[in-house]
Point group: C2
Chain length 167, copies 2
DNA sequence: GAGATTATCTTAGTCATTAAGATAATCGCA
DNA sequence: TGCGATTATCTTAATGACTAAGATAATCTC
């Protein structure tokens, strides 16, 4: 096999991969909308809660950056989420300008529930794969994750036209 | 190797995969937000335009369903998109209740532009993979796509609590 | 052709978000 | 030490996308 030209096959496989990848990304966004709606949250709220579930706790500023909203939006978001009992927020004793936000641990499971069916099906999907294949997929997703993070900061900083002229 | 118990390794690989997969999905949503923002569009607008880029043209009702918004929202969305020169909209001569919306072909490339850097990096990522590996990834994404579609219709139909009580 | 259905549009009101600037705490440096 | 600069969050006013409910208008059905 080595040295044999498989360029056409390779190119077509890459095209397939790109198309399926983008469509999956698109659908995952719509799916996330639906999940947030189901939980009575905005997408930004869900973003925040998922981030907290992963990170444990974070400052208001970190949440703003991560959810891609202004700090003003985070202020009202936190009021919302505190009122609904999702998070606690208190000033950092070490630096009293900061607000440390923590996901209430007893609510974390509730956040997972809409994903349960999905996770179950995803596990079934993987059943037929070898360990090596699973590792390949995990590595790939990890690289994509890094790419998204890099591109996001790139879009934020490098963007000359951030908004339509009317805003 | 065959018959050897690799269950612990397998389980940990699956955990890694699930984690990276979910994080990637989350980031891709934030990325889509950023792309829409960069184009001066809402996420619904982008959803609509991407749908049109794929489908060629569609009725207002089909767009509403696809973008998960009411027909009233589509009306103002179309005014927006027409004004910005993204689409044309005209009544269907065969059924004058319908409005047929078409993406202006000369604007389609513009829709791709914010993805270019991303696509370029994604291509680099894949350079080191064998054709078999690329095919594995493409197959996996295709299966995920199918899963998302199935779960989405499930969420839409089976959902008892669609909104928070205050709305 | 009358009533039911379908597709889109209108209207009024809601709410998350932004921009700009206020407030308050911490840092850096003379 | 103390003062100006920086950093983190909050406030305010305004914007605009969205929804629900119902209006309008075209098409089906019998």
């Amino acid at each position: 096999m080595a040295g044999m030209s498989d360029e056409p096959a390779r190119a077509s496989a890459i095209t397939d991969l790109m198309h399926a990848g983008r469509e999956t990304s698109r659908l995952s966004t719509v799916f996330r909308y639906a999940i947030a709606d189901r939980l009575g949250l905005t997408v930004s709220d869900l973003e925040c809660l998922d981030f907290l579930a992963d990170a444990g706790s974070a400052t208001a500023g970190q949440i703003a950056e991560r959810a891609n909203v202004t700090t003003g939006a985070v202020t009202s978001m936190l009021r919302r989420l505190q009122q609904a009992g999702w998070v606690t927020a208190e000033r950092d004793p070490a630096d009293r300008r900061r607000v440390i936000v923590t996901l209430r641990p007893e609510r974390a499971a509730e956040l997972e529930r809409p994903y349960e069916r999905f996770a179950h099906r995803a596990a079934q999907l993987v059943e037929g794969y070898s360990v090596a294949e699973i590792r390949l997929l995990a590595r790939h997703f990890e690289r994509m994750r890094a790419m998204y993070l890099a591109e996001l900061t790139g879009l934020r900083d490098g963007g000359p036209t951030r908004r339509s002229p009317s805003r």
